[in-house]
């Protein structure tokens, strides 16, 4: 028992329920966790994000129910899958008649197939904790050459204090299929609770997957997500990550491009106030030729909030004629807000077109005066400029119902109109 107390990770998970059946994935994760530690800021990937004080706390895995109506998105007209504290709640979920998809529990995912897909990809202590102790989640199959008839809404709620939600999902896009996933994250009375989610998927050849992630948890919870997608040839993957919530957020996103003629697109908008910390870590790994990728993240930070962006694109030696574009732009609305931005290109091939850049600035004073000189109040002028700054990222969310929902969120949270 003393040994257990010595290790912070084992201590962290010591109250978590031991899973009834130890599947191969759980076993591997449990084994890997042995001897692992939480990252400190001495670890390059975690240099600007301190997790120490969050992992010192104890969290419980408890099933609960939630008031889902508070979080449903009007007119989204989606398959709605509900996860409360990381437990899949089928009674709160609605799956529509749709011959293009099938919804399974995560346990039904074929382990051999899964191991093959994620083989060689990297894990971290949080994704391993999730995989060892996950309490539920779904495995979605979008069938060959079919287009899902409705968006698939993963609706996550943290309910109650000091709870940890370890939901784990997998989306399998079969050859030539098409679907949109909307992942939202909410919380209720959940001071010091923790979302530790894993969302993974496989986009087979000619398939196309769009993910819109909207995280608006309360500013007293912690959110760590690990997202991994593998793309086969001629596939499309688009993810828009919009973050306004949580005290501390770490969005880890990796896309491994394992075929030619793929397009990968990542966009993000993060809006921090008070003492929020928002970290977006992305990786696009180009292994084959003739692929394009585009990444645009924009941050607006107010109060004492801190933004972190670390976007890496790797172009492997055999990956020729890759066009990769990456940009991170930030606006600081207060003198006490800050951003650490680190775009990285690692290129081993010789015939590539890559560009990257990052900016951190303030709102243009001359522009504010110009608008005020037309009769617009200083507050509205700032709002117009912020909306103008971040608008092009939000425009990537083509789903109108979701976009309306995002606009409402911004209006309620920040008083911003678009």
């Amino acid at each position: 028992m003393e040994l257990v107390l010595d290790n912070k990770v084992l201590e962290f998970v010591s109250d978590f329920k031991k899973p009834e059946t130890i599947s191969k994935v759980r076993k591997q994760a449990l084994d890997a966790l042995n001897g692992m530690d939480f990252p400190t800021t001495r670890v390059e990937d975690w240099k600007y994000t301190r997790v120490g004080k969050y992992v010192k706390k104890k969290y419980k895995q408890v099933q609960a129910t939630a008031n889902v109506e508070d979080y449903t998105i009007a007119d989204l007209n989606a398959h709605q899958l509900v996860f409360v504290n990381g437990y899949y709640d089928e009674s709160l979920s609605t799956i529509k008649e749709d011959d293009a998809i099938s919804v399974h529990k995560i346990e039904e995912l074929d382990e051999e197939y899964y191991s093959d897909i994620v083989d060689g990809t990297s894990e971290n202590v949080f994704s391993l904790i999730n995989k060892a102790y996950q309490t539920g989640g779904v495995f979605i199959q979008v069938k060959k050459n079919k287009k899902a008839n409705f968006p698939i809404h993963f609706l996550h709620v943290l309910e109650g204090e000091e709870v940890i939600a370890n939901a784990r999902h997998f989306v399998h896009m079969e050859t030539g299929s098409k679907a949109e996933v909307v992942a939202t994250y909410h919380s209720n009375n959940s001071e010091n609770s923790f979302t530790n989610v894993v969302l993974e998927g496989h986009v087979e050849s000619n398939a196309s997957l769009t993910i819109n992630k909207l995280q608006s948890e309360a500013k007293n919870v912690f959110h760590i997500s690990n997202e991994l997608f593998v793309q086969d040839e001629s596939s499309n993957f688009l993810i828009n990550t919009i973050t306004t919530g949580a005290l501390m957020t770490r969005n880890g996103l990796e896309v491994i491009v394992e075929g030619e003629n793929c397009h990968t697109e990542m966009n993000g908008a993060y809006l921090g106030t008070e003492k929020q910390h928002m970290d977006n870590h992305t990786l696009i790994d180009q292994l084959y030729s003739n692929c394009t990728s585009s990444e645009s993240y924009k941050g607006v930070m107010d109060g004492k909030s801190v933004g972190v962006f670390n976007g890496k694109v790797i172009v492997r030696q055999d990956a020729q004629k890759i066009a990769a574009y990456q940009s991170n732009k930030n606006i600081l609305l207060s003198k006490t807000a800050s951003v650490n931005s680190k775009p990285e290109l690692e290129i081993y091939a010789d015939d590539v077109r890559c560009s990257h850049g990052s900016t951190i600035g303030e709102l243009d004073e001359d522009a504010i005066f110009y608008l005020r000189a037309r009769g617009i109040s200083a507050a509205s002028a700032k709002q117009l400029l912020v909306a103008g700054f971040i608008g092009d990222v939000l425009d990537k969310v083509e789903n109108e119902a979701l976009r309306t929902n995002i606009d409402e969120l911004f209006l309620n949270d920040f008083g911003w109109k678009f």
């Binding site: 005066f369 110009y370 005020r372 037309r374 009769g375 509205s380 103008g388």
Partner: protein
Amino acid sequence: MLTIKNLHASVEEGQEILKGLNLEVKAGEVHAIMGPNGSGKSTLASVLAGKDGYEVTEGSVDFDGVDLLDLEAEDRAKEGMFLAFQYPVEIPGVSNVNFLRTAMNEIREYRNEDKMSAKDFLAKVKEASNLVELDNKLASRAVNVGFSGGEKKRNEIFQMAMLEPKLAILDETDSGLDIDALRIVSEGVNKLRSKDNAVILITHYQRLLEYIKPDFVHVLSAGKIIKTGGKELALELEEKGYDWINEEIAQ
């Protein structure tokens, strides 16, 4: 309408730019202000419009009974002041019509007037852009982004036509306009004139004043108005430059 008395203004670093300026503008009038580069013309426009970074150390400005210097920039606009910028600012991501809609709504709210309907607003956009022959596409594009120099100036007058101010200060709106555009924009400004509003034209060229006939021409030099005359003064300046005025004063 506008009474400026003994106006002194400095930049934040302390240097005094306006050094005791007097000017009286009545409804229905057009005043031209000419003067050498760096004499303080744009500074006067900025101080009147309420730009930060200037300190008024002495003097007063009355605008139709209100103490203009007491108001925030936006409230000056709401009271009917308009500045066409010498250097219009580019604002990425903010569309022209969108921001004008916000402006008009806020102005109407301030004046306790009803909101304008979407239909009326669009009709007005059309009317105002026709007035200065501003391409309809430009009206809906991001404010001044990628506009040519001349298009930016037209856009200023387009906005003036939308907002219908009591007092419009046009700071070198003529520079950068080609010959046809100068005529079109001038005719636009003339159409907006009435017995109830007034215009201050800041310019270096007498050509503009052939289109928009001023009632008074003032010479601003080193932060003061040193000479006032009729429109013939502009012709004289064009011919002789500014030095003779200083000599005249010295005598």
